[in-house]
């Protein structure tokens, strides 16, 4: 028996080892290495990077662009998270066979809502770029009858970030709708029949029955949208390059800029460690939320 256990232990480790090696090499190792690297400088002309201690972090605290990136990222997250979750739920309710029974053309709507998920962000960005073009772009054309229009959406610091947020929401709502749809389809129809017999209004049914049943999904979606709000930068790379005047620079974009345009790996590593700290907080919050949910049961 002991021999069997040992054999199983060896087999277990052998089976996980290849995948584990790759995971460690590209997730755990870089997480640690980035913290160490952040203590060193740039290392120009093939020389070894000089040790700076906390120099990069001191520079970071004094760097107005870093603070702006943080502020932009907070705004980005604060808008993208609630709006894309709300839209995802509304879309799922509209195209679900039971909750959206009274809506005509559900099959078309379902495809329309979901399409952004199969389009690359960069393709989406190209099309939106035209929509936002001042003067003859679609948005300005729609606004011109109202005396508005000819507004440089991406070129002005007031509207560039909201434009990036709109593109992000457009994509996120589409993707996460599918999770709500799956959850709605798993809800037994008898619940609805019982509620209807009792004469409960649709709003009440949503609030008292559907919403609580969707909580695990909402939790899952919430955590993922939060993570996405740290890393969705494809449209920023293509549409605004972080500008104008850093108005659309969020943290990961700034890391990309420092790391791959200024080639300062040390400073980019220090910035990455701030991003990792943010993700660690998300992980802790998720852990807290999950353990609270167990008490409810």
């Amino acid at each position: 028996m002991i021999r069997g256990e040992r054999k199983e232990a060896i087999a277990g480790w052998m089976l996980i080892l290849p995948a584990l090696l790759l995971l460690v090499a590209f997730t755990h190792y870089p997480t640690v290495a980035v913290l160490i690297r952040s203590l060193f400088g740039q290392g120009l002309h093939g020389k070894a990077p000089p040790f700076l201690g906390l120099g990069n972090y001191r520079a970071m605290v004094a760097d107005p662009v870093f603070w702006q990136a943080l502020r932009n990222n907070a705004l980005y997250a604060a808008a993208v998270i609630p709006l894309s979750m709300a839209l995802a739920i509304i879309m799922a309710l509209a195209v679900d066979a039971a909750t959206g029974a009274r809506i005509a053309g559900r099959v078309f709507l379902r495809v329309a809502y979901f399409t952004p998920t199969v389009l690359p962000m960069i393709a989406i960005a190209n099309i939106w770029l035209f929509f936002f073009t001042p003067g003859y772009g679609l948005i300005d054309r729609l606004l011109s009858p109202f005396g508005l229009g000819n507004w440089n959406w991406l070129g002005s610091t007031a509207t560039a970030l909201p434009a990036m947020i709109a593109v992000a929401i457009w994509r996120e709502a589409s993707f996460y709708m599918i999770f709500y749809l799956a959850a709605l389809q798993a809800i037994p129809p008898t619940l609805r029949e019982a509620a209807m017999l009792e004469g409960s209004s649709r709003l009440n049914f949503f609030r008292r029955v559907l919403w609580p049943l969707l909580t695990p999904t909402s939790l899952f979606v919430f955590v993922n949208v939060v993570i996405d709000s740290f890393r969705l930068i494809d449209q920023i790379v293509v549409m605004t390059h972080g500008g104008p005047d850093n108005a659309t620079t969020i943290l990961l974009y700034y890391i990309y800029e420092v790391g791959f345009q200024y080639w300062d790996a040390g400073y980019a590593s220090a910035l990455t460690s701030v991003l990792l700290a943010g993700l660690a907080i998300v992980a802790l919050v998720q852990f807290g939320l999950l353990s609270r949910r167990v008490h409810y049961r």
């Binding site: 232990a9 060896i10 087999a11 277990g12 480790w13 089976l15 290849p18 995948a19 584990l20 995971l23 590209f26 997730t27 870089p30 997480t31 980035v34 690297r37 839209l87 879309m91 509209a94 809506i103 053309g105 709507l109 495809v111 329309a112 809502y113 979901f114 399409t115 998920t117 389009l119 690359p120 960069i122 989406i124 190209n126 099309i127 929509f131 679609l138 709502a173 589409s174 599918i178 999770f179 749809l181 799956a182 389809q185 798993a186 899952f220 740290f230 890393r231 930068i233 790379v237 990961l252 890391i255 990309y256 791959f260 790996a265 980019a268 590593s269 990455t272 990792l276 993700l279 992980a283």
Partner: protein
Amino acid sequence: MTARFAAIETLGAWLLGLIWIAPLFWAIWAALHSGAAATGFDVFAPLTLENFVRAWNGAPFAQGLLNTSIVITIALVVQFALCTPAAFAFARLSFPGRDLVFALVLVQLMVSPDVLIVQNYQTISRLGLIDSLLGIALPYLGSAFGIFLLRQSFRQVPQELDEAARLEGLGPIRRLWRVYVPLARPTYIAYGLVLVSFHWNNFLWPLIVTDSVSTRPLTVTLAMFATPDQGLDWSVITAATLMSVAPLLVAFLIFQRQFMQNFMRAGVR
């Protein structure tokens, strides 16, 4: 009262649907018209395929498509080959350190390779894989998502089946191959589909790690071609955009029900 409410609901749902599909519709319309007609919203302008020809000749899209396909093939084959045994071990074998290691694996769901671009670039560079297709795929090959998904699926395989195979004297590898993998087929399809669309759409990492036409995937090829500062017509840009999304988009439009069901299966935990 309820009839009016239903009408408002339908109207709202359609408005949302139109906003969500508008970019695609507009892109198709613009790509089929001359640049002036497209930006001038001239409804009666003649149709043309000229834009597609110009886009196709303007950038190496065929090479991009080939590169994307190779990256996807590498990712599919290697991820399936590595995640399957790992998922099985986590699901059905007991060995010291299992739960701790599994928790470590799950870290990747939080800290995705996108966030670690600076350090992963150093690693890929040290391996001499900058500007190579393997370099694009490598950071994603050990996948926590895949391990997690397959583990869930393997855990649903009835213990009795496993027990019967064990009594017949089958070792873990053969049990995995004969019992678990066939039963998890729907999960493989769902996982594969999510994987294909992820790598088809992936942009930032390939942009960083590639440096030449021979390795750039479609997304990067498109981005290099379709920068408005190159003085291109919007119609040509949209034609290029449509060409690079077409294969996946057409597949989705044909198999939309299966597509969505598989995305749901991959997301439901």
